[in-house]
Amino acid sequence: MRTASEKLAEIKIREAEIRSRKMRRQTVALSFLSAAAAVLLVFAGLKMIPAIVGSDGDYDMSARYASIFSNDPAIGFILVIALAFALGVCVTLLCIKVHRHTEREKRK
Protein backbone atom coordinates (compact mmCIF):
# COMPACT_ATOMS: atom_id res chain seq x y z
CA MET A 1 0.00 0.00 0.00
CA ARG A 2 1.19 3.52 -0.81
CA THR A 3 1.83 6.15 1.84
CA ALA A 4 -0.23 9.36 1.87
CA SER A 5 2.52 11.39 0.18
CA GLU A 6 2.98 8.75 -2.52
CA LYS A 7 -0.75 8.79 -3.12
CA LEU A 8 -0.75 12.56 -3.39
CA ALA A 9 2.10 12.48 -5.91
CA GLU A 10 0.30 9.78 -7.91
CA ILE A 11 -2.91 11.83 -7.96
CA LYS A 12 -0.99 14.84 -9.30
CA ILE A 13 0.53 12.71 -12.06
CA ARG A 14 -2.85 11.29 -13.05
CA GLU A 15 -4.46 14.73 -12.89
CA ALA A 16 -1.82 16.07 -15.29
CA GLU A 17 -2.43 13.13 -17.65
CA ILE A 18 -6.19 13.72 -17.64
CA ARG A 19 -5.69 17.44 -18.29
CA SER A 20 -3.27 16.84 -21.15
CA ARG A 21 -5.61 14.24 -22.73
CA LYS A 22 -8.50 16.69 -22.48
CA MET A 23 -6.37 19.50 -23.90
CA ARG A 24 -5.25 17.32 -26.83
CA ARG A 25 -8.83 16.31 -27.64
CA GLN A 26 -10.04 19.92 -27.56
CA THR A 27 -7.12 21.16 -29.63
CA VAL A 28 -7.70 18.48 -32.27
CA ALA A 29 -11.43 19.31 -32.42
CA LEU A 30 -10.78 23.05 -32.69
CA SER A 31 -8.04 22.59 -35.29
CA PHE A 32 -10.37 20.41 -37.33
CA LEU A 33 -13.15 23.00 -37.16
CA SER A 34 -10.75 25.82 -38.05
CA ALA A 35 -9.42 23.85 -41.00
CA ALA A 36 -12.92 23.04 -42.22
CA ALA A 37 -13.99 26.68 -41.96
CA ALA A 38 -10.79 27.81 -43.70
CA VAL A 39 -11.27 25.35 -46.58
CA LEU A 40 -14.84 26.51 -47.09
CA LEU A 41 -13.69 30.12 -47.06
CA VAL A 42 -11.04 29.33 -49.67
CA PHE A 43 -13.74 27.69 -51.79
CA ALA A 44 -15.93 30.74 -51.51
CA GLY A 45 -12.90 32.94 -52.31
CA LEU A 46 -11.99 30.90 -55.39
CA LYS A 47 -15.48 31.34 -56.72
CA MET A 48 -14.90 35.11 -56.54
CA ILE A 49 -11.67 35.10 -58.55
CA PRO A 50 -13.23 35.18 -62.04
CA ALA A 51 -15.23 38.21 -61.04
CA ILE A 52 -12.21 40.00 -59.61
CA VAL A 53 -9.74 39.25 -62.36
CA GLY A 54 -12.21 39.27 -65.21
CA SER A 55 -11.58 42.05 -67.75
CA ASP A 56 -15.17 42.49 -68.84
CA GLY A 57 -15.69 45.09 -66.14
CA ASP A 58 -18.23 42.93 -64.32
CA TYR A 59 -17.47 43.44 -60.61
CA ASP A 60 -20.80 42.24 -59.26
CA MET A 61 -19.51 39.54 -56.93
CA SER A 62 -22.58 39.18 -54.80
CA ALA A 63 -23.93 36.29 -56.83
CA ARG A 64 -20.64 34.44 -56.81
CA TYR A 65 -19.76 34.03 -53.16
CA ALA A 66 -21.76 30.84 -52.60
CA SER A 67 -22.99 29.91 -56.00
CA ILE A 68 -21.97 26.30 -55.29
CA PHE A 69 -24.79 26.26 -52.77
CA SER A 70 -27.36 28.60 -54.22
CA ASN A 71 -27.91 31.25 -56.86
CA ASP A 72 -29.36 33.64 -54.36
CA PRO A 73 -26.78 36.38 -53.61
CA ALA A 74 -28.15 36.87 -50.08
CA ILE A 75 -27.28 33.27 -49.16
CA GLY A 76 -23.76 33.86 -50.41
CA PHE A 77 -23.27 36.80 -48.09
CA ILE A 78 -24.79 34.96 -45.12
CA LEU A 79 -22.61 31.90 -45.74
CA VAL A 80 -19.39 33.86 -45.97
CA ILE A 81 -20.24 35.87 -42.85
CA ALA A 82 -21.10 32.67 -40.94
CA LEU A 83 -17.92 30.94 -42.08
CA ALA A 84 -15.75 33.92 -41.22
CA PHE A 85 -17.40 34.14 -37.81
CA ALA A 86 -16.95 30.38 -37.17
CA LEU A 87 -13.31 30.60 -38.20
CA GLY A 88 -12.78 33.59 -35.93
CA VAL A 89 -14.40 31.80 -32.96
CA CYS A 90 -12.38 28.63 -33.52
CA VAL A 91 -9.08 30.47 -33.83
CA THR A 92 -9.86 32.57 -30.73
CA LEU A 93 -10.73 29.46 -28.69
CA LEU A 94 -7.59 27.77 -29.92
CA CYS A 95 -5.51 30.77 -28.86
CA ILE A 96 -7.17 30.82 -25.42
CA LYS A 97 -6.48 27.10 -24.97
CA VAL A 98 -2.86 27.47 -25.98
CA HIS A 99 -2.48 30.50 -23.70
CA ARG A 100 -3.97 28.63 -20.71
CA HIS A 101 -1.78 25.62 -21.41
CA THR A 102 1.33 27.81 -21.56
CA GLU A 103 0.35 29.53 -18.29
CA ARG A 104 -0.14 26.15 -16.58
CA GLU A 105 3.21 24.91 -17.84
CA LYS A 106 4.88 28.10 -16.57
CA ARG A 107 3.29 27.66 -13.12
CA LYS A 108 4.69 24.13 -12.95
Binding site: R2, A4, L8, I11, K12, R14, I18
Partner: protein, 182 residues
Protein backbone atom coordinates in the same frame (compact mmCIF):
# COMPACT_ATOMS: atom_id res chain seq x y z
CA UNK B 1 -13.45 22.41 10.68
CA UNK B 2 -13.10 23.53 7.08
CA UNK B 3 -15.81 22.10 4.85
CA UNK B 4 -14.96 19.66 2.07
CA UNK B 5 -16.26 22.11 -0.50
CA UNK B 6 -13.96 24.91 0.74
CA UNK B 7 -11.01 22.52 0.66
CA UNK B 8 -11.86 21.54 -2.88
CA UNK B 9 -12.03 25.17 -4.02
CA UNK B 10 -8.76 25.89 -2.25
CA UNK B 11 -7.14 23.01 -4.10
CA UNK B 12 -8.44 24.33 -7.42
CA UNK B 13 -6.86 27.66 -6.51
CA UNK B 14 -3.51 25.94 -6.15
CA UNK B 15 -3.35 24.85 -2.48
CA UNK B 16 -1.97 21.29 -2.51
CA UNK B 17 -2.41 20.89 1.26
CA UNK B 18 -6.16 21.08 0.74
CA UNK B 19 -6.02 17.97 -1.46
CA UNK B 20 -3.93 16.19 1.17
CA UNK B 21 -6.62 16.99 3.74
CA UNK B 22 -9.39 15.72 1.46
CA UNK B 23 -7.38 12.57 0.85
CA UNK B 24 -6.94 11.96 4.55
CA UNK B 25 -10.69 12.44 5.09
CA UNK B 26 -11.97 10.14 2.36
CA UNK B 27 -9.24 7.83 1.14
CA UNK B 28 -10.08 4.97 3.49
CA UNK B 29 -13.84 5.12 3.19
CA UNK B 30 -13.69 5.44 -0.59
CA UNK B 31 -11.33 2.45 -0.69
CA UNK B 32 -13.75 0.32 1.29
CA UNK B 33 -16.69 1.44 -0.84
CA UNK B 34 -14.84 0.59 -4.05
CA UNK B 35 -13.72 -2.72 -2.59
CA UNK B 36 -17.41 -3.61 -2.31
CA UNK B 37 -17.52 -3.40 -6.13
CA UNK B 38 -14.22 -4.87 -7.27
CA UNK B 39 -13.40 -7.20 -4.34
CA UNK B 40 -9.73 -6.57 -4.80
CA UNK B 41 -7.79 -4.28 -2.46
CA UNK B 42 -5.22 -3.17 -5.06
CA UNK B 43 -7.82 -2.36 -7.69
CA UNK B 44 -9.87 -0.48 -5.10
CA UNK B 45 -6.84 1.64 -4.18
CA UNK B 46 -6.07 2.42 -7.85
CA UNK B 47 -9.68 3.37 -8.51
CA UNK B 48 -9.77 5.62 -5.44
CA UNK B 49 -6.69 7.46 -6.73
CA UNK B 50 -8.32 7.76 -10.15
CA UNK B 51 -11.44 9.21 -8.55
CA UNK B 52 -9.39 11.86 -6.74
CA UNK B 53 -7.47 12.65 -9.94
CA UNK B 54 -10.72 13.04 -11.91
CA UNK B 55 -12.03 15.36 -9.28
CA UNK B 56 -8.83 17.40 -9.23
CA UNK B 57 -8.82 17.71 -13.04
CA UNK B 58 -12.48 18.58 -13.23
CA UNK B 59 -13.10 21.86 -15.02
CA UNK B 60 -16.69 21.93 -13.89
CA UNK B 61 -16.35 23.45 -10.48
CA UNK B 62 -18.39 21.78 -7.77
CA UNK B 63 -21.99 22.90 -8.26
CA UNK B 64 -23.31 22.12 -4.81
CA UNK B 65 -26.29 20.06 -5.96
CA UNK B 66 -25.15 17.31 -3.61
CA UNK B 67 -22.48 17.11 -0.95
CA UNK B 68 -18.83 16.84 -1.93
CA UNK B 69 -18.67 13.35 -0.44
CA UNK B 70 -21.66 12.19 -2.52
CA UNK B 71 -20.00 13.59 -5.64
CA UNK B 72 -16.69 11.86 -4.87
CA UNK B 73 -18.37 8.52 -4.19
CA UNK B 74 -20.47 8.82 -7.36
CA UNK B 75 -17.29 9.38 -9.42
CA UNK B 76 -15.75 6.35 -7.68
CA UNK B 77 -18.77 4.21 -8.47
CA UNK B 78 -18.66 5.18 -12.16
CA UNK B 79 -14.97 4.29 -12.33
CA UNK B 80 -15.56 0.97 -10.58
CA UNK B 81 -18.33 0.05 -13.03
CA UNK B 82 -16.08 1.04 -15.96
CA UNK B 83 -13.33 -1.14 -14.49
CA UNK B 84 -15.70 -4.10 -14.16
CA UNK B 85 -16.95 -3.61 -17.73
CA UNK B 86 -13.41 -3.31 -19.08
CA UNK B 87 -12.44 -6.56 -17.42
CA UNK B 88 -15.79 -8.13 -18.33
CA UNK B 89 -16.62 -8.84 -14.72
CA UNK B 90 -20.22 -8.98 -13.59
CA UNK B 91 -20.44 -6.94 -10.37
CA UNK B 92 -22.65 -9.57 -8.76
CA UNK B 93 -20.64 -12.64 -9.70
CA UNK B 94 -16.94 -12.01 -9.49
CA UNK B 95 -14.69 -14.77 -10.78
CA UNK B 96 -12.17 -16.35 -8.44
CA UNK B 97 -9.32 -14.72 -10.39
CA UNK B 98 -10.79 -11.27 -9.93
CA UNK B 99 -11.74 -11.78 -6.30
CA UNK B 100 -9.08 -11.06 -3.76
CA UNK B 101 -10.32 -12.62 -0.55
CA UNK B 102 -8.25 -10.27 1.58
CA UNK B 103 -10.27 -7.39 2.96
CA UNK B 104 -8.32 -4.10 2.82
CA UNK B 105 -6.18 -3.62 5.88
CA UNK B 106 -7.45 -0.20 6.91
CA UNK B 107 -7.60 1.46 10.35
CA UNK B 108 -11.35 1.93 9.91
CA UNK B 109 -11.76 -1.85 10.24
CA UNK B 110 -9.42 -2.20 13.20
CA UNK B 111 -12.34 -2.26 15.61
CA UNK B 112 -13.48 -5.87 15.82
CA UNK B 113 -17.19 -5.02 15.70
CA UNK B 114 -16.87 -3.12 12.43
CA UNK B 115 -14.57 -5.74 10.97
CA UNK B 116 -17.03 -8.56 11.68
CA UNK B 117 -19.88 -6.53 10.25
CA UNK B 118 -17.88 -5.69 7.13
CA UNK B 119 -16.86 -9.33 6.68
CA UNK B 120 -20.50 -10.41 7.02
CA UNK B 121 -21.48 -7.79 4.43
CA UNK B 122 -18.89 -9.24 2.06
CA UNK B 123 -21.09 -12.32 1.79
CA UNK B 124 -24.13 -10.38 0.62
CA UNK B 125 -25.19 -9.59 -2.94
CA UNK B 126 -23.18 -6.68 -4.37
CA UNK B 127 -26.08 -4.22 -4.39
CA UNK B 128 -27.03 -5.00 -0.78
CA UNK B 129 -23.40 -4.65 0.23
CA UNK B 130 -23.04 -1.25 -1.44
CA UNK B 131 -26.24 0.21 -0.11
CA UNK B 132 -25.62 -1.01 3.46
CA UNK B 133 -22.04 0.24 3.38
CA UNK B 134 -23.14 3.78 2.43
CA UNK B 135 -25.97 3.77 4.94
CA UNK B 136 -24.22 2.32 7.98
CA UNK B 137 -20.51 2.92 7.49
CA UNK B 138 -20.77 6.32 5.80
CA UNK B 139 -23.94 7.55 7.51
CA UNK B 140 -25.41 8.68 4.21
CA UNK B 141 -29.09 9.50 3.98
CA UNK B 142 -31.37 7.55 1.64
CA UNK B 143 -31.31 10.49 -0.75
CA UNK B 144 -27.49 10.70 -0.76
CA UNK B 145 -27.22 6.93 -1.21
CA UNK B 146 -29.65 7.16 -4.13
CA UNK B 147 -27.51 9.90 -5.73
CA UNK B 148 -24.29 7.90 -5.41
CA UNK B 149 -25.80 4.66 -6.72
CA UNK B 150 -27.98 6.39 -9.35
CA UNK B 151 -31.15 4.76 -8.06
CA UNK B 152 -34.46 6.15 -6.87
CA UNK B 153 -35.00 6.69 -3.15
CA UNK B 154 -37.70 4.02 -3.23
CA UNK B 155 -35.27 1.48 -4.73
CA UNK B 156 -32.66 2.35 -2.11
CA UNK B 157 -35.17 1.94 0.72
CA UNK B 158 -36.17 -1.47 -0.65
CA UNK B 159 -32.53 -2.50 -1.01
CA UNK B 160 -31.77 -1.40 2.55
CA UNK B 161 -34.70 -3.43 3.86
CA UNK B 162 -33.78 -6.56 1.91
CA UNK B 163 -30.09 -6.07 2.62
CA UNK B 164 -30.76 -5.88 6.34
CA UNK B 165 -32.79 -9.09 6.20
CA UNK B 166 -30.02 -10.81 4.34
CA UNK B 167 -27.37 -9.46 6.72
CA UNK B 168 -29.42 -10.62 9.70
CA UNK B 169 -29.53 -14.17 8.32
CA UNK B 170 -25.79 -14.12 7.62
CA UNK B 171 -24.95 -12.86 11.10
CA UNK B 172 -27.27 -15.38 12.74
CA UNK B 173 -25.68 -18.21 10.77
CA UNK B 174 -22.33 -17.14 12.15
CA UNK B 175 -23.65 -17.09 15.70
CA UNK B 176 -23.94 -13.34 16.21
CA UNK B 177 -26.83 -11.78 18.02
CA UNK B 178 -28.65 -9.18 15.99
CA UNK B 179 -30.82 -6.44 17.42
CA UNK B 180 -33.53 -5.06 15.15
CA UNK B 181 -33.32 -1.35 14.50
CA UNK B 182 -29.51 -1.15 14.55
Amino acid sequence: MISDESLYYRYLDGDDDALAELLSRYDESLNLFLFSFVQNAEDAEELALDAFARLAASDKRFQGRSSFKTWLFAIGRNLALQHLRRHRINAGTLTDEARDEKTPDLPMLSEERYRQLYLAMEKLKAEYRQVLYLKYFEDMTVSETATVLKKSERQVSDLIYRGKQSLKETLEKEGFEYEDGQ
